[in-house]
């Protein structure tokens, strides 16, 4: 490797180093399985996804380069007899990674559209405390359902979504509110037009069920299953040992999953 290669590898961005390619692929695969296994949207792995997207872009470029070089010299098969084989291996590998990313994103969008209000309310709770006062004052003047869609313009922390997802879910909910309003909610009395009504102590915002059971494998030495109560009180339930596969509640192992001590199956 000479100095140009080193400089080039710096220029190519975060996804450049080949050593981390295998690791990132494993991380992406594990994250995809996890995202498919639970009903809530998992925290968006910004850094990992940036690296993966970088890599996919570079891989597409290099495949195009290879394909172009084979088109230039159609008769020169002796030069590189394996070119077609190499191209098809590279393309298969690319298609598999793209499938992973696509499936992951579509799964997240499906969850977001299903629980859009829940995530909008959650996001609007992320905003910095300084700008919180203004949103309360309008609550009396509700005339259309779209007024109950939280405003995200002051939100800077999009956890657990990515910024694009947050924008998506906000526009989605606005369209939905406009549609509801146009098709039937206009006919309702004013006080019944909210989409986040919680009259009678029952919130009409549906959220994902964190008590759902999931299949997990314990990867660290020992991982206890946490009992989560209504007030967040925590107790320790059964203990999983390394290599064990269990059916447990998602909320009971969520924190262990975040630390990478268990994997979802």
């Amino acid at each position: 490797m000479d100095i140009d290669d080193i400089l080039a590898s710096v220029d190519r961005g975060a996804g450049a180093s080949a050593e981390s390619a295998a690791m990132d692929h494993q991380l992406l695969t594990r994250f995809w399985v996890a995202e498919r296994a639970v009903s809530e949207v998992l925290p968006w792995p910004t850094v990992l996804m940036d690296r993966m997207m970088d890599r996919v872009r570079m891989q597409i470029e290099s495949i195009e380069d290879l394909a172009a070089s084979s088109a230039d010299v159609p008769t020169n098969n002796t030069h590189n007899p394996n070119l077609n084989l190499r191209l098809s291996i590279l393309q298969t590998d690319l298609a598999r990674t793209q499938y992973l990313i696509r499936s992951l994103l579509r799964q997240r969008l499906a969850k977001l559209t299903k629980y859009s209000m829940h995530y909008l309310v959650k996001l609007s709770g992320n905003k910095n405390p300084l700008s919180q006062s203004q949103s309360q004052s309008q609550s009396q003047s509700q005339a259309t359902p779209s007024d109950s869609v939280p405003d995200l313009s002051t939100v800077t922390d999009f956890t657990p979504l990515s910024e694009n997802e947050a924008n998506f879910v906000h526009s989605h909910q606005n369209l939905l509110a406009g549609h509801y309003s146009g098709s039937f909610m206009e006919a309702f009395p004013r006080q019944l037009r909210r989409l986040d009504d919680n009259a009678g102590g029952t919130s009409m915002i549906q959220g994902p069920d964190t008590k759902e059971s999931v299949f997990v494998r314990c990867l660290a030495g020992e991982v206890p299953v946490i009992v989560v109560g209504d007030e967040g009180e925590e107790d320790i339930g059964v203990t999983m040992r390394m290599g064990d596969v269990w059916v447990v509640r998602w909320e009971g192992i969520k924190s262990a999953w975040e630390k990478g001590e268990v994997e979802l199956l």
Binding site: A18, S20, A21, A22, M23, H25, L27, R30, V33, R36, A37, V47, R51, S62, N82, R86, I89, L90, L94, R96, T97, Y99, S103, R106, L109, A110, T113, K211, E212, S213, V214, F215, R217, L219, A220, G221, V225, I226, V227, G229, E233, D235, I236, G237, V238, M240, M242, G243, D244, V245, W246, V247, V248, R249, G252, K259, G260, E261, E263, L265
Partner: protein, 259 residues
Amino acid sequence: MAFPLPRGITPSEIAFLAEMEMVTVVPRQRLEGLELLGGPVEPLVPPRPSTPREYYPPAWLHPDPLSLILEVESQHQDYKNAFSPPLPLPGQPSIRDNGLAPKARPQYTPDGDRYFPSPPFLPQNTAQMTISSRDPPALPFHWVEIGNMLLEAASDDLVEADQVRRLLKDLREIRLSKMRAGVDALDAAAVGGGGVALTGVGAMEVGEERGFLSGVVDNLRKIGASKEQARREQMAEQRANGGYNGTQDEEEEEDYMEF
């Protein structure tokens, strides 16, 4: 609808995962190394005919270990309601030296987090250079899929492929019936902090039974919700009185059954 598939990866997605398992390739022709998105691939160089090397199929994919596992699954008292133990993870003591504390060996991600490798990214299905008999035979996580793939693509390289095929089928049936018979134990997973151990289960077996198992557990949980609420209130009361006894409760939680 953005995504029509149900929660949890489906059997075809499990097969896709199983395709990430590593296998040994003895090349017939030369191929330069490739920088794949799944990691770099070393250059393929065909071995010289003058120095032939012996390769053996993966340790478990052989009639002897498979019939041993089958015997354990069907005859052994300890495994009447449980699956045979899985291949150990790196750092996990094998069944032979039971009692040793597991030492998980984490790798580190580029972001500095701990990462514990697991199937399909462990070399559990690569060819063996020698036949080692130290470790007791065990099925890898993706045994159904890898078994079928190797039988289909490389049956010439396996020992008594037909026998292997028959044993895999028998194993599958006996384990499937265990999975079904274990429904009684599912009540434990419906309680907060409880769970049902399925250690040794295969990926495809999880995929096949996922809908049924999680349906049963989630419905049991809904039925038992008021009971759980009452118990939690009782516990809170005990705690408020200062006489909370942690061990007593733990014992109650520990009465899970293994499949």
